[in-house]
Amino acid sequence: MTIAGTSSFVLNRRHLLGIEGLSHDEISGLLDLAEEFVELNRQIEKKRTSLRGRTQINLFFESSTRTQSSFELAGKRLGADVMNMAVVSSSIKKGETLIDTAITLNAMHPDILVVRHHASGAVELLAQKVDGSVINAGDGAHEHPTQALLDALTIRRNKGRIEGLTVAICGDVLHSRVARSNIILLNAMGANVRVVGPSTLLPSNVERLGVTVMRDMREGLHNADIVMMLRLQRERMNGSFVPSTQEYFAYFGLDQHKLSYAKPDAMVMHPGPMNRGVEIDSGVADGAQSLIREQVEMGVAVRMAVLEALARNLPNA
């Protein structure tokens, strides 16, 4: 059995490069469409044909397991031909530039390019050189729009709304594209957003993005509805940004005790992959308040929604 789609939402733009610039209605439209795919994905027959004949290339300049497989599955379930290209291991090593790669791939007429790159702005640069749609799967410390959308969907399904909720984003905000996209999206949808972390991991003037800045977990988690933990890269733990793993966990790692500062029904999120015992305790990560596994499920649905909504806007659609 297949579920007939009811949402006819079209994303009236060629690319999805970031949450920045998306309207409240566009975000809601994508989340509503994603809801349909959540249902579809729980059926045995998960296939749609809306992207049949389309070619989707997942172009990853930075390695990724979950985002890439999530996009791959999303494209295949919509009927697209999906090709994965891990550029870390191929042409960049031969000296080919980002632009050359874009031009080369463009000659193969992909309809959709899903791109991840380690440099902020690189996906936008690539988008200027291709004819199809480009979806940003993470660029440097800039944006990761599908992660913010899947987080929003997860929140909405569990809390029934986003508006008015208090969301605490905790940890390495400085290096996090997930944090930036979430801050923009949550603000656009009317949530109260806090960032919590040591000053060394908070970007300069981050309050200008419309967040309250806190440097203490007790204060930062007080009355929070959602506690969103961020990954701290190993190389940043040894004295360069924080003194040690132990100290970081003591002051900023989410354990059951710190979680008790938040509302009793607060939910815990993490974009993955987790460093258990660094930013999050295993008991919390696997506990009753955790939404971490659900986030992964929502990831496929949201990416199907983004692919579908962009494809509806492609020529000859």
């Binding site: 980002l98 902020s120 936008e124 440097g140 970007p203 300069s204 200008r208």
Partner: protein, 437 residues
């Protein structure tokens, strides 16, 4: 051989003559012959000139000393594909720059008297404007060992600098300043603490945070400038801050000047006319070092030029090609070309009434000539006939295809500008004439 037109007497008649070296701004005529300025006064007229004099009616135009660009990165030797002395001089002439001061950041670095000699000879043979060069302050610009300041000066180096590099070791800086003092050499230094710069690629603050780019704090500049002021206090060396970009540095400079230290400073035309917001969606042509700062810093810099706290405006000409610019922002090379646009961009400040015209022209000609001790920067009788004619009103749009520089990395790409050089005369010969396309 460079393409010099023949040298005949020229009378620039009915002009508005501005000579910042004497604070003069008057209506009159200027006569040049034999490569020097004969006189500039009201009413020389056709009757008062030698036979064979070309008379150019300059009604509505401004006549001023040719510009002296105190900081241009050229690329010869080592990066001739980006810019040669010849191509840089063509660009200079088109921008009204009659003297280029080369920076030593070449391959090899200009840290040896033989390379100074090479630059000067090569310029003599290929360039259509005057070329002078600074020499490295430390060997290979590494900040460890001082160069042969005495011999380099004797070979013709007009000042000593590590160009875009900063000398981080305070002991090396102190000794080099003390040694330079004995030779009365001018030390020019870009102050940027590389550790505080870190991975930074643009000004630190809200905009860097939004773009997800690492920021460079203004403190990176101010801390080293403050250190240098203390070292100048210890050594009494002649010192010039190469590129001031922020309000914090201006406060330090102000104090140093009030205390009577032998200190002067430059700001680049980019920092006076652009700010960090111009970077917009990761436009790498706006990536420069030090980075474009906040609007309030830009405004403070312009005020500092107006008050004389900033002495010199330079182009910071730095040619980069598509291979180094058509990259993600963090990976792109910093730098913007500026020889051809320095004056027109500066005229924006005049047109907006932020800066008197004579101050702008002085900061681009008289002040660098005086500080470096090079000829030019004046319309006095007997001075070299390095003169420009400016149409202050002509509107034009910068088409990168018209640029003479080998590289097209201009932040004024497609910019609407008002006013430009229409004729550049170097040593009495016409090096450039504007021909609208």
């Amino acid at each position: 051989m460079p393409m010099f037109s023949d040298r005949h007497p020229i009378l620039l008649a009915n002009a508005r003559i501005i000579d910042p070296s004497r604070d003069l701004d008057f209506a009159g005529d200027l006569l040049m012959a034999d490569g020097v300025i004969r006189e500039a006064k009201r009413g020389i007229g056709a009757a008062g000139v030698p036979a064979g004099t070309e008379i150019m009616d300059c009604k509505g135009f401004i006549v001023a000393p040719g510009l002296i660009d105190m900081r241009a990165f050229v690329g010869e030797p080592g990066a001739e594909y980006r810019e040669t002395l010849a191509s840089a001089s063509q660009a200079a002439a088109a921008g009204g720059v009659t003297t280029i001061i080369c920076q030593p950041d070449t391959t090899p670095a200009i840290d040896d008297p033989a390379i100074v000699d090479f630059i000067l000879r090569r310029a003599r043979d290929t360039a259509i404007v005057h070329v002078q060069t600074m020499a490295a302050l430390t060997k290979n610009l590494e900040g460890r060992e001082m160069t042969e300041i005495g011999l380099l000066k004797a070979a013709g180096a007009v000042a000593f600098t590590d160009g875009a590099h900063s000398v981080t070791n305070a002991q090396v800086m102190r000794r080099t300043l003390a040694y330079a003092r004995d030779f009365d050499a001018l030390v020019v230094h870009q102050t940027e603490d590389p550790d505080l710069v870190g991975e930074g690629v643009m000004n630190e603050g809200e905009f860097a945070t939004r773009l997800g780019l690492h920021g460079i704090p203004t403190a990176a500049e101010a801390i080293m400038l403050e250190r240098d002021m203390r070292l100048v206090g210890l050594t009494d060396a002649r010192y010039h801050a190469a590129a001031i970009t922020c309000r914090q540095s201006l406060e330090i400079l102000q104090r140093a000047k009030e205390n009577g230290l032998p200190v002067t400073a430059s700001a680049s035309i980019n920092h006076l006319t652009l700010n960090q917001i111009d970077i917009g969606p990761y436009r790498t042509f706006f990536k420069v070092r030090p980075p474009l700062r906040a609007e309030e810093d830009r405004v403070a810099l312009v005020e500092a030029v107006a008050s004389g706290l900033i002495d010199v405006i330079m182009s910071d000409h730095n040619p980069q090609d598509v291979e180094t610019k058509r990259l993600p922002f963090a990976e792109a090379a910093p730098g913007a070309i500026g020889l051809e646009t320095m004056l027109s961009a500066g005229l924006r400040l005049v047109n907006n009434h932020d800066l008197p015209l004579i101050t702008l022209l002085g900061a681009m000609s008289t002040k660098p000539a005086e500080r470096l001790g090079v000829p030019g920067g004046t319309l006095r009788n007997g001075a070299p006939a390095d003169v420009i004619v400016i149409d202050p009103d002509i509107p034009w749009v910068l088409d990168p295809a018209d640029l003479k520089s080998k590289c097209k990395n201009t932040p004024f790409d497609e910019a609407r500008l008002q006013g430009r050089v229409i004729r550049t005369i170097v040593a009495g010969r016409t090096a450039y004439e504007y021909a609208p396309s």
